[in-house]
C-alpha cells in the first residue's frame, strides 16, 4: 500500500511535465542585462537587454538594443516542439558596424534545442546576409547558458563567416529600477 501510494504520488507529480513531453526552459526565463566588462564590445550599440519569456514549450527572446535615445527591439518567438521555426527578420541589428544586411527572403530559420536539463538553449539559425558583392548564406550557432546559481547568462555565438566567437555575458536583473538607470551608451 505504501509502495502504491508512492507510485501514485510520483506519477501524478510528473504528470504535468510528462503529459506534453515538453522541454522546460524556465531556468532561462527572466530579464538579463549585458555586462560590458565581461563581453565582446557591442558595436554599434551602447547596451543590450535580453528578456526571455517562457510559456510551456514556447520561448520568446526579446533583444532590446539601445544607443543613446535610439532603441530597437528584436523579438524571436520559438516553439521548442517544432523542428524549425521560421522567424521574419525586419533587419539585422547585430553588428550594424559591418556592411552586411538581411537578405534573401528576410527570414531566419531556427532549430532550437533545450539541453543539459534546461540550463542551456542552443539555436542554430540559417539566414542570408546581403553585402556589396551579393548574398551569402550564414549559419549562427547560439548557446544560451545559465550559471549554476542562476544569476548569470552567457551567450556564445559562432557565425559561419567569423573566425572568432562573440561572447555576451548577462546578469540577471533583480532590480528593475536600477536597470532603468543603467547606461545606455552614446549616439552622435
Amino acid at each position: 500500500m505504501r509502495r502504491l501510494s508512492c507510485l501514485v504520488l510520483l506519477v501524478t507529480g510528473l504528470l504535468p511535465r510528462l503529459s506534453a513531453a515538453e522541454p522546460d526552459a524556465h531556468l532561462l526565463a527572466g530579464t538579463w542585462r549585458y555586462d560590458a566588462t565581461r563581453s565582446t564590445e557591442l558595436s554599434s550599440w551602447g547596451s543590450l537587454q535580453l528578456v526571455i519569456a517562457v510559456d510551456g514549450p514556447r520561448v520568446t527572446l526579446t533583444r532590446h538594443w539601445t544607443a543613446g535615445r535610439r532603441t530597437f527591439d528584436e523579438v524571436t518567438p520559438l516553439d521548442l516542439t517544432r523542428a524549425i521555426n521560421a522567424v521574419p527578420v525586419e533587419w539585422w541589428p547585430d553588428n550594424r558596424h559591418l556592411g552586411a544586411y538581411i537578405g534573401g527572403d528576410r527570414t531566419k530559420r531556427i532549430h532550437a534545442t533545450l539541453m543539459d536539463g534546461g540550463r542551456m538553449l542552443r539555436l542554430s539559425s540559417d539566414l542570408v546576409l546581403a553585402t556589396q558583392q551579393g548574398e551569402r548564406a550564414v549559419n549562427i550557432l547560439s548557446d544560451y547558458k545559465v550559471s549554476a546559481n542562476g544569476s548569470q547568462l552567457t551567450l556564445i555565438e559562432l557565425r559561419s563567416t567569423r573566425d572568432e566567437p562573440i561572447i555576451y555575458v548577462f546578469r540577471r536583473v533583480t532590480d528593475a529600477a536600477a536597470d532603468a538607470k543603467a547606461s545606455k551608451g552614446n549616439a552622435e
Binding site: E41, S44, R70, T71, W91, R96, L98, G99, L129, Q132
Partner: protein, 581 residues
C-alpha cells in the same frame, strides 16, 4: 523707369569702358546700356547664392592678445565671465583680429593649442598673454569696442543666448548681475537688461520676443544655433563669430515634440538668405543632430558645427601666408586608369573634422590614410587648414565633405536648392585641391536604425553636379549605396570602427567582411571614428590572417573603377526609415 535716362546719366561711361576693353565687340550703345541695367537690377532682385566671405586683413597682425579660459563651463561657474570675454572678442575682432581665446586643454577642438603655436611660428603673431579669465584687463584694453552692456538672467539659461543676439546688434558686452560693477567701472552703460524678462516663459516665447525685437536687425547670412551642451553647462565657443556678424542666436528645437519651437525655427530658417550658413549645433537637451541637420537642409541652408568651435572671429580674418597654396597628396592623375589585382584593398577614412580627430595622435604617416577636410574652414579658419596641409605626411590624403559645402544631408535638400549649394562645394573643392566628395545622410536613419542610403535620383544629382571628381564615398556608419559611372565609383563604408572596439574584435570584424565578400578584388572602405588613432588602425590591419593592401582613397577609387566586383545598389522603398527622434 526711363532706361534711356539712366543710361545717359548713370552708366554711359562704364559701358563705354566695357566696350573699350572688348576688342571687336560692337553693339549699339543704347542696347548695351539696357542690358547692363537689366543685369544690374537682376542682381538687386535675385538673391546671391554664394556665401559672403568675411574680409581678411592683408596680413596677420604682428601682435594679438591671448586670454586663457578656465575649464569650468557651468552656468553657475565660469560661464558668466567666459560669456563676457567671448562677446568682447566678437566686438573687438570686427575689422581686425585682436583677441584669441586659449580654451582649456580638454576642449573638444584640440586644434586650439597647436594652432596657437602655428600662428606664432608661421604667421608671425606675437601673443600678449593676459591672466586666466582676466576680464578686467581685457576690458581695459578692448572695452572701447563696446557701446555698453546687456545683462542676462542667471535664472534663465536662454536669456544668455538672447543676450548674445543683443550683443551683436547693439555692440554690447554680455554680463550677469555679478559682473555689472566691473563693466561699469570701465565706463560702459546698460543697454538692455533681461533679468526678470523671461521668468516663467517657454523658450519658444523667449525667442519669439527676441525675434520681434531684434531679428530684423540681424544678419541674413549667418544664424547661430547655440545648442550643444545642456544645463548645467554651456559651451558658447562660436558666439564670438555670431556677435561679430550680428547674427541671431537661439537654441530652438527641431523636434516635432516641441511644435512651438519648431515653428519659430522654421520661420527663422526661411528668412535667411538662400544657401547661407547656420553655425553652431543642435541642443543636446532638446533634439537630435539628425533632426536639426535635416531641417536646415530642408531650407537649402548649410550647417557648420559646432557650438563650441572657438576663435572664428579671429581666424576667419587671417589670410594664408603668401608662399602657401593648398596642395593635396594626389597619387594618380584625374584621368589615370589603374589595374586592380585579385586581392583585398582597404582604405581608411577619418572624418569628424580633423580638428577634433586623430591628427595629432600617434601613428599618422604609418599607413595611407584619408582625411575629410571641413571645407568651410577655407574661409572660417584658413590658418588651421594651412596647418593641416603643411603638416601632412606623404601618406595623408584629403577629401571634401560632408555632402556639400558644410554638413548636410542630400535627401533633405529640395532638388531645386541643390545646384546652388553644390556650386559652392565645387568652388571649395577646387580651392582646396580636393577630387573626392564624401556624402553622409542621416535624414532617414543613422548607424543604429533606419537607413543611410541614397536613392538613385540623389546619386544622379551628385554625378551631374560634380563632373570633375574621381569618385564619391558615402556613409558614416556602414551603408550600401554603390555605383560606377564613367569611371567614377561611388563606394559606401563597409566598416565603422568604434572608439571602444578593441584591436582583436576589429580584426575579427574585418576578417568576417573578407569572408562575406569572397570575390577579389574586394574593396573595403573603413570609416574611422574621430578619436581612434592611426596606430590602432595599423595594428588592426597588421593582425589579419590574410594580407590586405592599404591604399589612399584616390588609388582605391581608381582600382574600384577597374574591377566592379560590387553590385550597383541604391536605397530601396522597403528600407527601414527612422527620423532620428
Amino acid at each position: 523707369m526711363n532706361l534711356n535716362t539712366m543710361n545717359a546719366h548713370g552708366t554711359h561711361g562704364l559701358h563705354g569702358n566695357l566696350v573699350g576693353i572688348l576688342p571687336g565687340f560692337r553693339v549699339a550703345p543704347d542696347w548695351f546700356g539696357r542690358c547692363f541695367i537689366l543685369l544690374f537690377l537682376a542682381g538687386l532682385v535675385l538673391p546671391a547664392t554664394a556665401q559672403p566671405i568675411p574680409p581678411k586683413v592683408a596680413r596677420a597682425p604682428a601682435t594679438a592678445t591671448l586670454i586663457p579660459l578656465s575649464g569650468n563651463w557651468r552656468l553657475d561657474g565660469d560661464v558668466p565671465v567666459h560669456a563676457l570675454l567671448i562677446s568682447l572678442q566678437g566686438l573687438a575682432n570686427r575689422g581686425e583680429p585682436r583677441i584669441y581665446l586659449e580654451y582649456p586643454k580638454d576642449w573638444q577642438w584640440e586644434i586650439v593649442r597647436p594652432l596657437e603655436g602655428f600662428l606664432e611660428k608661421r604667421h608671425g603673431i606675437k601673443f600678449d598673454r593676459l591672466a586666466q579669465d582676466d576680464a578686467d584687463a581685457a576690458l581695459t584694453r578692448f572695452g572701447h569696442f563696446a557701446k555698453g552692456y546687456v545683462v542676462w538672467d542667471q535664472a534663465v539659461r536662454s536669456s544668455l543666448i538672447v543676450a548674445f543676439t543683443i550683443s551683436g546688434v547693439e555692440d554690447a558686452v554680455v554680463v550677469n548681475a555679478d559682473l555689472v560693477p566691473l563693466v561699469e567701472k570701465h565706463g560702459l552703460k546698460k543697454i538692455a537688461d533681461l533679468r526678470g524678462q523671461f521668468t516663467g516663459k517657454t523658450d519658444a516665447q523667449i525667442y519669439q520676443w527676441a525675434y520681434d525685437h531684434y531679428w530684423a536687425r540681424c544678419s541674413r547670412d549667418y544664424y547661430v544655433l547655440l545648442g550643444g551642451h545642456w544645463t548645467p553647462e554651456m559651451q558658447p565657443g562660436i558666439a564670438d563669430f555670431g556677435v561679430m556678424q550680428r547674427a541671431f542666436f537661439t537654441d530652438l528645437s527641431a523636434n516635432p515634440k516641441q511644435p512651438d519651437e519648431l515653428a519659430l525655427e522654421r520661420r527663422i530658417l526661411a528668412g535667411q538668405h538662400p544657401a547661407s550658413i547656420v553655425v553652431g549645433w543642435h541642443s543636446y537637451g532638446k533634439d537630435t543632430e539628425g533632426q536639426h541637420t535635416t531641417l536646415v537642409g530642408n531650407y537649402g541652408l548649410k550647417m557648420e558645427g559646432l557650438h563650441n568651435l572657438p576663435n572664428v572671429s579671429f581666424t576667419c580674418q587671417i589670410p594664408l601666408t603668401p608662399d602657401f597654396k593648398f596642395t593635396n597628396n594626389h597619387h594618380v592623375a584625374p584621368d589615370a586608369k589603374l589595374k586592380a589585382e585579385p586581392k583585398v584593398y582597404v582604405c581608411a577614412v577619418a572624418t569628424d573634422s580633423m580638428g577634433i580627430g586623430a591628427w595629432t595622435k600617434p601613428g599618422r604617416g604609418e599607413i595611407p590614410y584619408t582625411w575629410q577636410v571641413t571645407m568651410n574652414w577655407a574661409w572660417m579658419n584658413p590658418p588651421a587648414l594651412q596647418f593641416f596641409y603643411e603638416d601632412k605626411k606623404p601618406n595623408d590624403y584629403f577629401i571634401g565633405g560632408l555632402s556639400g559645402p558644410g554638413y548636410m544631408y542630400p535627401k533633405s535638400i529640395p532638388a531645386d536648392k541643390f545646384p546652388a549649394l553644390m556650386k559652392d562645394a565645387r568652388a571649395l573643392m577646387a580651392q582646396l585641391d580636393l577630387r573626392v566628395l564624401e556624402i553622409m545622410d542621416y535624414s532617414e536613419g543613422n548607424r543604429h536604425v533606419g537607413n543611410t542610403d541614397l536613392p538613385k535620383d540623389v546619386v544622379d544629382r551628385y554625378y551631374h553636379e560634380f563632373p570633375d571628381v574621381i569618385g564619391f564615398i558615402n556613409g558614416y556608419g556602414t551603408a550600401r549605396t554603390f555605383d560606377l559611372r564613367d569611371g567614377k565609383p561611388l563606394i559606401s563604408y563597409d566598416y565603422y570602427l568604434d572608439v571602444n572596439r578593441t584591436v582583436k574584435d576589429a580584426a575579427a570584424d574585418v576578417e568576417e567582411l573578407i569572408q562575406l565578400n569572397p570575390k577579389r578584388p574586394y574593396f573595403l572602405l573603413m570609416h574611422i571614428r574621430e578619436r581612434n588613432p592611426v596606430e590602432k588602425v595599423n595594428a588592426i590591419l597588421h593582425s589579419l590572417s590574410e594580407p590586405v593592401e592599404v591604399v589612399p582613397l584616390d588609388v582605391f577609387l581608381k582600382l574600384a573603377a577597374d574591377a566592379k566586383t560590387y553590385q550597383t545598389h541604391y536605397q530601396q522603398p522597403t528600407d527601414p526609415v527612422s527620423r532620428n527622434p
